[in-house]
C-alpha cells in the first residue's frame, strides 16, 4: 500500500500507517518548529517544472543529424520526469538570495546529465529496463547504439549549456568552474558511474545527485563555504531518502523488483523505515542553521517531507524519474 496522506501539519513527523504492516511511529523533534507549514510545494514545483521543461526544449533543438537530437529529446523531455534535481538547484539558489535566472542553465544541465545516466543505466548490458519515466526506454525506440550516443551527447551538452547560458553578471566565473567541477565529480568515477558499477541502485547514485543539485544551487546563489557544507549533507540525505522510500514502496506493493542491491533488500522494510526517519531528521537538521533566511528555506524543507510522504500527485513517484 502506498503512503496515502500528507503529514505536514506538525513538525513532529512520523511515517503514516500502512495496511499491511504495523506502523512505526517515531516522534522526531525538529527544531524548525518555527518554519511555516503553509508553503504549497505542489504549486511551487509544478510551476518550476513548466519553466524548466520549456528551457530544456529550447536547449536541444533538432539539428543535423536529426536522429540523435530526437533520441536526446525523447529522454530529456519525457513527460513523466519529475525534475527533482533542477528544482532543488533553483530552490537552493533562491535560498541565498540568488536570482533563479542564474540557476536555470545549471538546473537544465543537471537534468541533462541525469537523463544521460538514466539512458545508459537502462541499456541491455546494464539494467536492461524496458521503460523509464512512463515511456519505453530510449534504446528500445532508437536502438542501443543511438542510446549510447544520446547519453554521450547529453553529458557534454550539460557543461556547455552552463557556460553559454549563465549570465556572468549574476555568477562570477570562478564559481561557474566550481559548479562544473561539482557536477562532473557527481557523475564520474567517484559518483554516479561508480554507483552503477557497484550495483547500488540507490544510496550512492541518488545521494550524489541530490548533493550535487543542492550544492550547485548554493554556489550559484552565493552561499558561503559553511553553508555549502550544510547543503552537501542536506542534499545527500534527501537524495538517499527519496530512493529509500521508493524502495520501501516497491517492496510493499511487490511490483517487479529492480535489479541490484538496495538497503531495503538487504535490511528489510522496517529497518529501512527507521533509517528513512533518521535521514529526514538529518536533512532538516542541516537546514536549521539557515533559519536566518526565513521563508526562503521552505521549498528545501518541504522537499524532505515530500520525499517521505509523497502525498502530492506530481506523476510517478520516483526521484529517479
Amino acid at each position: 500500500m502506498a503512503f496515502s496522506t500528507v503529514i505536514m501539519s506538525s513538525p513532529h513527523a512520523y511515517i503514516p500507517k500502512t495496511a499491511s504492516s504495523p506502523t512505526i511511529r517515531r516522534r522526531v523533534r525538529c527544531s524548525s518548529a518555527s518554519v511555516s507549514t503553509q508553503f504549497d510545494l505542489r504549486t511551487y514545483w509544478t510551476a518550476l517544472i513548466k519553466e524548466i521543461d520549456q528551457k530544456l526544449d529550447d536547449a536541444v533543438p533538432v539539428l543535423y543529424p536529426q536522429r540523435i537530437y530526437e533520441a536526446m529529446r525523447y529522454s530529456l523531455l519525457a513527460k513523466g520526469a519529475k525534475r527533482a534535481p533542477p528544482v532543488m538547484c533553483v530552490a537552493a539558489c533562491e535560498l541565498f538570495g540568488g536570482d533563479r535566472a542564474a540557476a536555470f542553465p545549471t538546473a537544465c544541465a543537471l537534468e541533462m546529465v541525469h537523463a544521460a545516466s538514466l539512458v545508459h543505466d537502462d541499456l541491455p548490458c546494464m539494467d536492461d529496463s524496458q521503460s523509464r519515466r512512463g515511456q519505453p526506454s530510449n534504446h528500445t525506440v532508437f536502438g542501443v547504439d543511438m542510446a549510447i550516443l544520446a547519453g554521450d551527447a547529453l553529458f557534454p551538452l550539460g557543461f556547455r549549456h552552463i557556460v553559454t547560458n549563465t549570465p556572468t553578471n549574476l555568477v562570477p566565473e570562478s564559481r561557474l568552474l566550481r559548479v562544473i567541477t561539482e557536477i562532473a565529480r557527481a557523475v564520474g568515477s567517484t559518483g554516479m558511474a561508480a554507483g552503477q558499477f557497484l550495483d547500488l541502485d540507490d544510496e550512492k547514485k541518488f545521494g550524489e545527485m541530490g548533493r550535487c543539485s543542492a550544492v550547485c544551487g548554493g554556489l550559484l546563489g552565493g552561499a558561503s563555504d559553511d553553508e555549502i557544507q550544510r547543503l552537501r549533507k542536506y542534499g545527500q540525505a534527501v537524495g538517499i531518502l527519496y530512493q529509500m522510500v521508493d524502495d520501501i514502496l516497491e517492496a510493499k506493493t511487490e511490483t517487479d523488483k529492480k535489479k541490484g542491491k538496495s538497503y531495503v533488500s538487504v535490511y528489510g522494510v522496517e529497518k529501512a523505515m527507521e533509517v528513512a526517519e533518521d535521514l529526514r531528521a538529518q536533512a532538516k537538521k542541516e537546514l536549521d542553521g539557515l533559519e536566518k533566511y526565513g521563508d526562503k528555506v521552505l521549498p528545501l524543507y518541504h522537499f524532505v517531507d515530500y520525499a517521505v510522504d509523497r502525498g502530492l500527485v506530481l506523476g510517478s513517484n520516483s526521484f529517479d524519474n
Partner: protein, 266 residues
C-alpha cells in the same frame, strides 16, 4: 578505476603526439606548458572514451585496439560503457578543477570548445553518420568528409583551439590554429584509410583490412589510392600555410606534428 587506466595507458599505436598539441598551442601564443596539461589530459580522456564506446559490440564491434583486447573484451560491456561515461566527466572535471594560472573566463571558453567537440556537433555526429553511411550503397565525398571532420578533426581542433585559448591567444590566432587543426585532422583520417589498404594488423595495432572487408566508404575507395595520396599532400600544405603567421621557432613542433601525421606508418 583500473579500467580507465587500462585504456588510457595502453601503448599508443596511432596517435602518440596527441597530448602534445594543446601544450604546443599554448606556448605558440605565449603560454607555458603547465597551464595546458590538464586540458591535454582531458583531450586524451575524451579520445579514449570515444574509442571505448566505438569498439562496443553494438557499435563497431572491435576486438583489438592499440595492440590489446578492447576495453569491453577485457572488462565486460557494462563496465566499458561506464568507463567511457566516467572518462567524459573526468575530462571536464580535470580542466575545471586543475587548470592553474589561467583566467577563469578562458577556462570556461575552453570547456565550451571541448563540449562542442565531444557531443552532437562533434564526435557523436561523426559516429552517427558513419553508422548511417555504412548501411548505404553510395556515399559521396562530402558525406565522407563530414564523418571524418566530426569523428577526428573536431577533437584535434578542440585540442589546438583550447591550447590557444588557455595560452592567451587572440581571436585571429585561435582561428588560424583552428584551420590548421581541421586540415591535419582530415589528413589523419585520409592517411588512416590509405594505411588500412596498404598495411597488416600487426603493424597497425588494430584490425586491418576491415574497411575493405566491410565495404566502408574510404578515400582510396572513393577517389582511388593515388588521388587519395595527392589529397593528403594538399591537406598537409594547407595546414602548414596557416603556421606561416606564427613565430618560426615556436611553430616548429607543429610543423613536425603535421609532418608526422602525413608520413606515419601506423
Amino acid at each position: 578505476m583500473n579500467l580507465n587506466r587500462y585504456s588510457l595507458l595502453v601503448k599508443r599505436q596511432t596517435r602518440p603526439a596527441d597530448p602534445l598539441p594543446p601544450c604546443r598551442r599554448r606556448e605558440l601564443v605565449g603560454g607555458n606548458e603547465a597551464m595546458a596539461i590538464p586540458m591535454a589530459c582531458a583531450i586524451e580522456m575524451i579520445h579514449t572514451m570515444s574509442l571505448i564506446h566505438d569498439d562496443l559490440p553494438c557499435m563497431d564491434n572491435d576486438d583489438l585496439r592499440r595492440g590489446k583486447p578492447t576495453n569491453h573484451k577485457a572488462f565486460g560491456e557494462d563496465t566499458a560503457v561506464l568507463a567511457g561515461d566516467a572518462l567524459i566527466s573526468l575530462a571536464f572535471e580535470h580542466v575545471a578543477a586543475k587548470t592553474r594560472n589561467v583566467d577563469p573566463h578562458r577556462v570556461l571558453q575552453a570547456i565550451v570548445e571541448l563540449g562542442l567537440a565531444v557531443g552532437s556537433e562533434g564526435l557523436v555526429a561523426g559516429q552517427i553518420n558513419r553508422r548511417l553511411m555504412q548501411m548505404r550503397e553510395k556515399v559521396s565525398l562530402e558525406e565522407l568528409e563530414y564523418i571524418h571532420v566530426h569523428k577526428t578533426s573536431k577533437l584535434l581542433e578542440a585540442a589546438v583551439v583550447c591550447g590557444a585559448i588557455i595560452g592567451g591567444g587572440d581571436g585571429i590566432e585561435v582561428e588560424r590554429l583552428r584551420k590548421f587543426a581541421r586540415c591535419i585532422g582530415l589528413l589523419f583520417q585520409v592517411v588512416d584509410d590509405i594505411l588500412d589498404v596498404t598495411k597488416s594488423s600487426e603493424e597497425l595495432g588494430k584490425t586491418a583490412g576491415k574497411d575493405l572487408a566491410s565495404d566502408k566508404a574510404t578515400y582510396p575507395r572513393l577517389m582511388g589510392l593515388e588521388r587519395a595520396k595527392e589529397f593528403a599532400g594538399e591537406l598537409a600544405a594547407k595546414a602548414v600555410e596557416e603556421l606561416r603567421h606564427f613565430d618560426a621557432l615556436r611553430v616548429v613542433p607543429l610543423y613536425h606534428l603535421a609532418d608526422y601525421i602525413a608520413s606515419r606508418q601506423n
